[in-house]
Amino acid sequence: MEKRLYKKDFGSFITSLQGLGYKTVAPKKDNNLIMLDEIQGADEISLDHVITNNSIKEFFFPKTEKVLSYRMEKNKVEIEEPEGFAVKAVIFGSRPCDAFSLPVMDKVFNWDCSDKFWVQRREAITIVTIACDKCDSYCFCTSVGLAPDAKQGSDVLLTKISDDEYVVETVTEKGENLIKGLEGVFSDSPSGVPDRQVATVEKKFAIDKVKPWLDENFVHKVWTEFSLKCIGCGACTFVCPTCHCFDIVDECTMTKGDRVKNWDGCQFKMFTMHTSGHNPRSTQGERWRQRIMHKFKYYVEKFDSILCVGCGRCSRVCPADMNISEMLEIIATEASQPGNKD
């Protein structure tokens, strides 16, 4: 039976979760930012925003993560693997686009061989999403096949029906078990069809035009044009919930250290540079082509998913005011009226 969650019960919701041993994560204010972060109590939750500045990615694939530690003596090395990195947690109030990024990323972290760091965290964390009741000009989820109230990737979806009331829908068995374990927090629904407050996100481009165009236009003037403003800072890749490139480096003192996996990004010149100095992607235009192609062509061909959820963070954060949905609009328009390739 459909349940309701009242805003006044957020407190008991969070306390009950903590009582059951869950770490609780929710959007909270951090100076001028709204960050998904650990909270101690419901009073820290902030829901008056379009989208959090950070994506959900870092809770499954941290910015920096120890994959092993080692201790060295002369002609002796001992390696230890980290334990306890997958902490039972509930992420409350993430957005549907962020939640959807998880099944998209499951594919790369599980194909051919599984990355236990990702897989164990996925098992340990339950996602309670709140459908978007507003959006901004950067949002384009509806252009990539999603919706502001999409369910995929969430375990539970909440949709606002009044200033202090949410409809609760369980999406997965994990979500159902979570709700069952929290007696007294959720209320039964009164009769009648609730008025769901869901944002209307404008569709900006025809996604079905994009891949066929990319298939034909590896060489095209737009790649350089797109990149002219780019300063190669890579911020777009870090805030992106689906960018998943990483580096592996050793951090150590003389006799002991950690091998860590750090976020990396295809927009950096060093990303592909060989020790010899040869660089297979030596221009920013080539690096932009890689970013767009990976998200809208290569990933689609390999894993049958677009590697973009339309959250718009890359464009919000870009210091040069580049906008990926505008690029895709240009591509979709080019596809309809082929112009000059040079």
Binding site: L68, E81, C113, F246, C252, M254, H278, P280
Partner: protein, 275 residues
């Protein structure tokens, strides 16, 4: 590695011996600390790590028929390889692998083989050459072209001499810049190619060298009408994970680490940025 707890967990290996080959290249022989046997295909590589410095992908240079140890020819170029050069017998290293698919040895069976090695490209090809020499009857004519920049940069001279003395293979060496004592051929490696008499349909060309070499060697092989499926090239990339996740070696939809690092020209010509 698939059954291991973590994809990033290396085995501990020990340096058995080291040998300075040239000013820049050193040959390192490794065993695992539990002396396990190695099982790999020529062309595969390992992620070798010096703890405290980091990991680097290095191709295996020894024959797969030697299962007790592996040999790697390491050029001193970056942080990790410089640290490897400082290792002495008994030193401990981390090793993940073998990684990648390696050369298509099954498809090569019964064919004429044309090896084209440029500089350090001889390191991975040496593994394949020694494999084919061990199974000599499985292959038809075997020819090896090797180009080095200078006489002093020629790798494995003793081994080259034994190859030269064999009657069942042909070897030609050239250097870009000869010195006073050099009596052999000089000039870039493609100069050795026009005079080759090949049966194109029955020939596999196996090429490893720097990116610039591929462009010119490919032109020559196309003149010789070697089928694109029979031209096999090994790609170098800034690999990190080695297991198709980190994105560093991605070319279009291909992960060089997993799907290669050897590819046929038939595949590579659809992968712009590959060469």
């Amino acid at each position: 590695m698939k059954n291991s707890n973590s994809l990033f967990l290396p085995e501990i290996a020990k340096v058995v011996s080291t040998r300075q080959l040239t000013a820049m290249e050193k040959y390192i022989e490794l065993k695992t600390i539990d002396d396990r046997e190695f099982d790999f295909t020529p062309g595969q590589f390992v992620q070798l790590s010096v703890f405290g410095i980091g990991e680097a992908p290095i191709s295996i240079s020894s024959s797969p028929f030697n299962r007790e140890s592996i040999g790697l020819c390491v050029r001193r170029a970056g942080d990790v390889t410089s640290a490897i050069h400082k290792l002495e017998p008994g030193s401990r290293l981390g090793m993940r692998g073998p990684l990648g698919k390696g050369f298509p040895v099954k498809e090569m069976r019964g064919k004429d083989l044309l090896f084209i090695a440029g500089g350090l490209g001889l390191a991975p090809l040496r593994s394949l050459i020694n494999y084919t020499l061990q199974k000599r009857d499985d292959f038809a004519r075997i020819r090896i072209l090797y180009g080095a920049k200078k006489p002093g940069e020629i790798l494995f001279p003793d081994e080259l001499q034994t190859w030269r003395e064999r009657k069942d293979i042909e070897l030609e060496i050239t250097v870009d810049t000869p010195d006073q004592n050099w009596t052999g051929k000089s000039g870039v490696i493609t100069r050795l190619m026009p005079s080759l008499k090949l049966e194109p349909e029955n020939t596999f060309a196996l090429i490893v060298g720097p990116p610039v070499m591929y462009k010119y060697v490919l032109l020559e092989l196309q003149i010789k009408q070697i089928p694109e499926t029979n031209i096999i090239m090994s790609l170098e990339r800034r690999m990190k994970c080695g297991i198709g996740k980190c994105g560093h070696c991605q070319i279009n939809g291909v992960y060089v680490c997993l799907d290669g690092p050897e590819f046929s020209y038939h595949t590579l010509k659809f992968l712009p940025e590959a060469i």
